[in-house]
Point group: C2
Chain length 429, copies 2
C-alpha cells in the first residue's frame, strides 16, 4: 500500500495525494507496456498464492469491515456483497489464475498489409496506459479488475467503496506482492488510501495521468462519474433490456427464454425488464408466458391485455417502460409486430441488450439490423450478455458507449494500438 488510511484531509491534500498516485501509475505503465507475458502471468500466480495463504488475515480484515458496516445499519444485500468466506476467496484466487491463462493481447498484430511502395504497415495492440476503477464495496472487483488491468499491461488505480476498505487493501497487497515477486513495478496497482469522496473527484479530473475511468456500481455512482469526469468513461448507465416475442415464435422457446431472461438473476444488468408480445400472438403466447412469470414469483406490470391474463397483474404506468427494476418485477405489453417492438425499444431501451424470439429469419434480421443496442440476440436469453459467456474470458463491465469498447469489456477492450511502418528508405513524393 502507498500509505496509511487518511480519513480527515483537506481537498488540496487529497488532490496532491491523487496526483502523486497518478504520476507513479504513469511511470509504472511505461514499464508494464513492454513486459513479457510470462512476467505478468508470474505476478498473477504469485498474487493468487499470496491470497490463498493469507486467507485467515483476509477474513479478519473482512470481519473488521463487516462490523463497521453492521454498526452503520446497511441492508442485508449490501452486507452480503461485502462478505467474504472461504468459497468466495477461492473464487477470487481462481479468477486470478483464469486471467493468467487468457492469451496476452499486447503486442499481437491486429492487422498487417503492404503498400505498393513496399511500406509494410502493422497495427499492433498496446496497453491503454493508466486505468482508474471506481467501485462500490465489492471486494472481488479489486481482484478481478486489478488482474485484468495487469494482464493487459496497464497500470490500475483502484478506488473501492470505503466500507470495504480493509478487505480491499488486503487484496491489493496480494496483487502488489505478486507484482514484486515477478520483478514488476508495484505501482502498476495502487489502491487509493483516502476514503473521502473528494478522492473520486480528483481522479475524475486527472486526465493527464488517467487514460480511462471504469466505474462499477449502482446508477448513482455511474451517473456521477459520467457527469463529472474529464477522463473518458467506459460504462453503462442502464440495462433496460427487452424480450420481444414475435407471432412466429416457438411458444416453448419463448416461455423458457423469457423466464430465464427475467429470473435467472434479476439483479444483473442483462436481466430483462420488459416483455413485448406481438399483438398477433396475443391469444397464443401472452398468457402462458405471463403465467410462468407469476408462478416464478415475478410481479407483472402490464397493459390491458396483460392485466386480463391474471388479476395479480397490476397496471403499468408510463414510468414502468423506462425502469430498470433489477428485481422480481417485469413490465409487459402488446406491440404491433417487429416494427412496434423496434419503436418501443428505440424510445425506452438503454441500448444494452435486447432479444427477439421468432422462427422467421426475415423478421429476426429486421430486428437485429434496426435495434441499436450493444448486444442484440435472436432466440437466446438476454442473460448471455457477459464476457465469460461470449468466450472473452473475464470482463471489467459492459459498455453501452459507441466509442472504443461496446458490449463486454475484457482484456482486448482494455488495449489501444499503434501503427508500426517498416520501410527501406521510402520518401513521400
Amino acid at each position: 500500500m502507498t500509505g496509511a488510511e487518511i480519513s480527515e484531509t483537506g481537498t488540496e491534500d487529497i488532490d496532491a495525494a491523487i496526483l502523486e498516485i497518478g504520476g507513479r501509475a504513469r511511470a509504472a505503465a511505461a514499464v508494464m507496456a513492454d513486459v513479457p507475458e510470462a512476467a505478468k502471468n508470474a505476478a498473477l500466480h504469485a498474487a493468487a498464492a499470496a491470497m490463498r495463504s493469507n486467507e485467515a488475515a483476509l477474513l479478519g480484515a473482512n470481519a473488521r469491515d463487516l462490523a463497521a458496516a453492521a454498526d452503520r445499519g446497511f441492508n442485508s444485500a449490501f452486507i452480503d456483497r461485502l462478505t467474504l468466506d472461504s468459497d468466495r476467496i477461492k473464487a477470487m484466487v481462481r479468477s486470478l489464475e483464469d486471467v493468467a491463462s487468457f492469451p496476452d493481447p499486447i503486442g499481437s498484430v491486429a492487422a498487417e498489409w503492404t503498400r505498393p511502395n513496399g511500406l509494410k504497415i502493422s497495427r499492433i495492440r498496446t496497453p491503454l496506459g493508466v486505468i482508474g476503477i471506481i467501485y462500490e464495496s465489492r471486494p472481488n472487483v479489486t481482484a478481478d479488475a486489478g488482474a485484468l488491468c495487469l494482464k493487459s499491461g496497464n497500470a490500475a488505480i483502484l478506488r473501492g467503496g470505503s466500507e470495504s476498505f480493509h478487505t480491499s487493501r488486503m487484496i491489493g497487497d496480494s496483487l502488489r506482492n505478486g507484482l514484486k515477486a515477478a520483478g514488476l513495478p508495484q505501482d502498476a496497482l495502487q489502491l487509493v488510501p483516502m476514503t473521502d469522496r473528494a478522492a473520486v473527484g480528483a481522479m475524475l479530473r486527472m486526465n493527464q495521468h488517467i487514460d480511462i475511468i471504469v466505474p462499477r456500481g449502482g446508477k448513482d455512482l455511474i451517473a456521477r462519474v459520467q457527469e463529472e469526469s474529464r477522463v473518458p468513461v467506459i460504462a453503462h448507465l442502464d440495462g433496460n433490456c427487452h424480450v420481444y416475442v414475435d407471432a412466429a415464435a416457438d411458444l416453448d422457446m419463448a416461455r423458457a427464454v423469457t423466464l430465464n431472461a427475467k429470473t435467472r438473476r434479476p439483479g444483473i444488468c442483462s436481466a430483462a425488464e420488459t416483455l413485448l408480445v406481438d399483438k398477433r400472438a396475443h391469444n397464443s403466447h401472452l398468457a402462458p408466458i405471463v403465467n410462468d412469470l407469476i408462478a416464478a414469483g415475478v410481479e407483472i406490470r402490464g397493459d390491458e391485455a396483460a392485466q386480463a391474463v391474471d388479476n395479480r397483474v397490476v397496471a403499468a404506468t408510463a414510468a414502468d417502460w423506462d425502469t430498470e427494476y433489477l428485481d422480481w418485477i417485469m413490465s409487459v405489453k402488446l406491440v404491433n409486430g417487429v416494427d412496434g417492438a423496434i419503436d418501443h425499444i428505440e424510445k425506452h431501451g438503454s441500448r444494452h441488450t435486447d432479444s427477439i424470439i421468432t422462427e422467421d429469419p426475415a423478421v429476426a434480421e429486421r430486428f437485429v439490423g434496426a435495434v441499436d443496442s450493444a448486444i442484440v440476440l435472436w432466440n437466446a436469453s438476454t442473460q448471455f450478455a457477459d464476457g465469460g459467456e461470449f468466450g472473452m474470458g473475464a470482463e471489467i463491465g459492459i459498455s453501452t458507449g459507441k466509442l472504443h469498447a461496446r458490449g463486454p469489456v475484457g482484456l482486448e477492450q482494455l488495449t489501444s494500438f499503434k501503427y508500426v511502418v517498416r520501410g527501406d528508405g521510402q520518401v513521400r513524393p
Copy 2:
C-alpha cells in the same frame, strides 16, 4: 440549407437552434444507419455532379467570401486556403467520387465465432451516429468530411469558419441535393447557419445528439474543443514529429528521409520538427544531413554539435524541443543511442509520428516497441502518416488519442459495432 444566415442572435436562441439541428441529425442518423451502399454511392455521385454543374455559382460564392476576407485583412496563407479555382473544385468533385468507390464498412462482419452452446456471435460494424465537424475556413473540408460521414452511414453537423460561409453553404447544398436525389434524408448533412462562436459551444455541450466531435484546424481551435467539449473528441493537438538517425543508419537513406520528412510539406502535422542523431554517428552523419537541410533553406536550431557544423546554425533554446514549427525550421541534437532518442521523444514528443533510420533490426525493434506514438516508422519518412498513404482512402484527420481511433481516421474509424447473437433457444444455466 436549414435556414438563412443568422449573424446577430442571443445565446439562448443559438442553443435552441443547435438543439433543433441536433434532433434532426439524430433522426436522419437512424435512417442512414440502415441504407444500402448503392444509395449512399448514388448520393455521392449526384453531389459530385451537382458541384460540377454549379462551378460558376460556387466560384461566385467564393468570390463573395474572398472579398469580405480581403477587407478584414487576413494574411495570404489564409486567403490561399479559402480560395477556390476550377482545379480545386475538380479535386473536391474527385474526392466525392473516390469516397463513393471505397468499400462500405457498415454491416461488415469484423469478427464471428460460435460458442460451445451453439450461440453464434458476430461483431457487426455500425455507424457512430451523429458526427460534429468543427473546422476553419477551408472549403474542401466541407466536401471531404461530409462525404466520409455520409459513406460511413453517419449524420454530420458541419460548422466551418465564418469566412468561408457562402462557399461552404454552396458545397453543403450540393451534398444535400445529392442526398435528396438518392432518396436519403437531407438532414444527414447539415451546416450550422450561425457564424457566432457560441454555436460551437452549443455543439460541444450537446452530448445527447452528437456522438463525436472532430475538430479540424489550428492548435487554438483544437485546444478549445478539447477543453470545452462534453462530447468525445477525436483529434491531435500537436504533431511534434522526430527523425532519429542511428549510428547504424545508411547515410544516403538518412539524408533523403530526413530532407523529405522536413521539407516535402513543412506545414502539415506529419512534418518532422526535430532531428536526433546518435552521438556515435556525430562524425559520419550529422554534417551531411544538416548541410542538406540548410541548402534546402531550412533554419537549423541546434545543440553545440549542430552549431559546429555551420555558422548559420543558431543555438536551440529549451522551448525548441517542444515546438511544432510547421515551418522551414528544424531543431537538431545528438542523443545517446536509441535509448537517448526514446527518452527525448518520451519527454518532448506529442505521440503523433516518429521515425528511426537504422540498418540494425534489433535497434529498430527497440525503438518501435518503446516509442508510444500513434505511428512509428522504420526507414521511412514521417510524411507517410496519412490515410491515403496507409491505403485507407481519404481521412478526416489523424488521432493521437488512445481510445477508439488512433492514427489516420478514415471510414472504418468512423464506425462503431454491435454484437449480434443468434441462437436456437439457449437459456443461461
